[in-house]
Symmetry: C2
Subunit: 453 residues, 2 copies
Amino acid sequence: MQEKILEEINTLLLEKDSAKLKETLAGENPVDIAEIFCHLDEKIVPRLYRLLPKSLAAEVFIEMPSDLKEALIASFADREITETMSELFYDDAADLIEELPAGVVKRILANTPQKDRAEINKLLKFEEDTAGSIMTTEFVNLRTDMTVGAALDYIRAVAPDKETVYTCYVISADRKLLGLVTALTLLTADVGKTIGELMETNVIFATTATDKEEVAALIRKYDFLALPIVDSEERLVGIVTVDDAVDVMQEEAEEDFAKMAAITPSETPYLKTSPFSIYKTRIPWLLLLMISATFTSMIISSFENALAAQVILTMFIPMLMDTGGNCGSQASVTVIRALSLGEVGWKDVLRVLAKEVAVAALCGLTLSVVAFIKLMTVDNFLSGGIAPLVAFTVAMTLLCTVIVAKLIGAFLPIAARKIGLDPAVVASPMITTLVDAMSLLVYFSLAKALLGL
Amino acid sequence: MQEKILEEINTLLLEKDSAKLKETLAGENPVDIAEIFCHLDEKIVPRLYRLLPKSLAAEVFIEMPSDLKEALIASFADREITETMSELFYDDAADLIEELPAGVVKRILANTPQKDRAEINKLLKFEEDTAGSIMTTEFVNLRTDMTVGAALDYIRAVAPDKETVYTCYVISADRKLLGLVTALTLLTADVGKTIGELMETNVIFATTATDKEEVAALIRKYDFLALPIVDSEERLVGIVTVDDAVDVMQEEAEEDFAKMAAITPSETPYLKTSPFSIYKTRIPWLLLLMISATFTSMIISSFENALAAQVILTMFIPMLMDTGGNCGSQASVTVIRALSLGEVGWKDVLRVLAKEVAVAALCGLTLSVVAFIKLMTVDNFLSGGIAPLVAFTVAMTLLCTVIVAKLIGAFLPIAARKIGLDPAVVASPMITTLVDAMSLLVYFSLAKALLGL
């Protein structure tokens, strides 16, 4: 669909048909227009942008990637910056300020009306990752003594400047949150009734300091279109809308994926990130993990004599370590997600460990029986020379490793959360190191005992 | 907050104050009531449920976990089943039918009015994971010749039976989708204007066969409150609302987390899953991975003589394998997420591989230099006896392993997607096996060549 429009626009550009270009662009979705702009020559974009109706232009602007925003602002006259800024919602304007380089920001703020600048500054002061940093201050507030008719008239008047009119908040004279009414209620109610009679008073809200992930979780849990945000004195100061909550959910999931793969999260799309930037997100973890493998080297080194006597034991080191690693990450990812979704907390630590021991016993028994049979048949056929006692040592090590790995994998994330660390960041490097070390220790100790090395 | 209400309800139950109980429950959010019910004795729940106003009762019912739904239905008279079913939205009713055991479903359907049953059956026939399976048929449709006043009157009349009234769809006489108007447009427009004059005609839609993940992605991309769904003849048959899209996004992310940790995805919360059920989601992958480690055993076995001559080489096997595994999973998780988000496709395969080679070269050089220095200093101090040529062998192996691991990690998910397999499922077991085998092969080959074994 977009390819067709892109082609059409390119044709119209060649034909210099501004009237038709204007008409075509005005009929498109702002998200699509922003994408189309990304596929055009940067020099043409300002010309096309000026063909857009004012309010659509602002919507397109917000959807563009940073580099294009910057290029466009560079092409703007001061007056155009003022126009664009006054069309933007305050939360979008605040995001813009945070996203662009200082030099550009300076010029933007110099051309932003004083009143807007004050509102934007209010939003900029909230800490990253809090509800304050993602909320918008442009919501509809009503008073209890308004009639439905008066409320509808008010909504009609203020609608263009509000992010949503579908949930309206009822506040007291000192701006305390009293309740809410939905547009649906207003539409279907008797116009003579008052807001006070109609409002729901059991309102779920968050504060400006609430973690944005928690805000997104509340919106998801209750299927809200928006969540009201209050300040420390319980005055209503903003709302977070469902579309922003959706973005938070997606970002947080991507961050967790990155952390579990031992990558520092980044928001830039993969294909747009330079190899050196990708390198920087990956190398610290690789170095950390490589250096922490010093433990495994030391363990092997201290059992060098045993290994020299039975080189065959080396054959199973990779399998034992991989199985331990897999068991550990199965448990840790499960627990990390359960923590993220609020299904599990520190109070459940014993229940989690008990469950993992049970699962580990089942997995360990299955794996060790299968491994013993496989070693005595297939592996003996393929490589030869595996004595029953060696196979038994490997099988017993598997059983112990699986149990240890699942316990470490389940415990570390809960413990990390308990002491205020990010479970996903802590888990992946520590679990590998600990599980590797434990499985080798168990393996060589059992080998020494059982094989008399 | 919920604890307080739970306590209050328990007190009121003891005092047998039904009037006060009724009032307390009626003021609560249905999601919270469902959660409170989970914490009460199953025998009390039906009594409390009957105190709820009809429409609230249906909302609470839908939010309850399956076991509680089943228990409640068992306590219902046939008449109560009919009442509940006629209050439910069709998509919720269809989910209920799919969720409960056949015996219960039979009784439910026997007590569902014929007309509702027909609508529910329509939804049940769509394949899992399609837009059809998550859409609702209860949306507001308008005609082009309606005036705004008539449309608002119509919305007021039908609102109680519709999932959303905030986006209304305009259809032709043969039910083809012509456009949409938002409630905001209707509220702010002149009541005499017609829908045809006001509607947006550039409507983004999906078909009943569209993958539900794609539907969620569209809703997220365009910040929609709902997406219209058409059948194969382009007739409007349903809508997917943002709250259902949010659930799809969350489910899909959880599934990907599970797959990347080599776990079969399951929808049951962790603490509610029995150890045996958890075992079943984990053991197939552990067995598969353990058996695939046969390759690494065979490789080590074939270099047994070299290892016997230089037992010290064993010391670095865990570090080499772990680093390879980490590099592979960094690349594969990055690419799997980029595939999921539609940032990358088969057409980009060469760009991705070129990028990963560059990143791998940077990571590999850093790691091999650090490893060489560490081996000659720290490790020689801790364990002793590491010859420069051994350290060099390890460093070179690291460099090769990192490059191979990143290439395999990046290529496999794209290739899997290309041949129609799930990148996340294919990647994790195959990458470990391939990277382990490759790193050992490189290690021993280099060792033989450089150390003359």
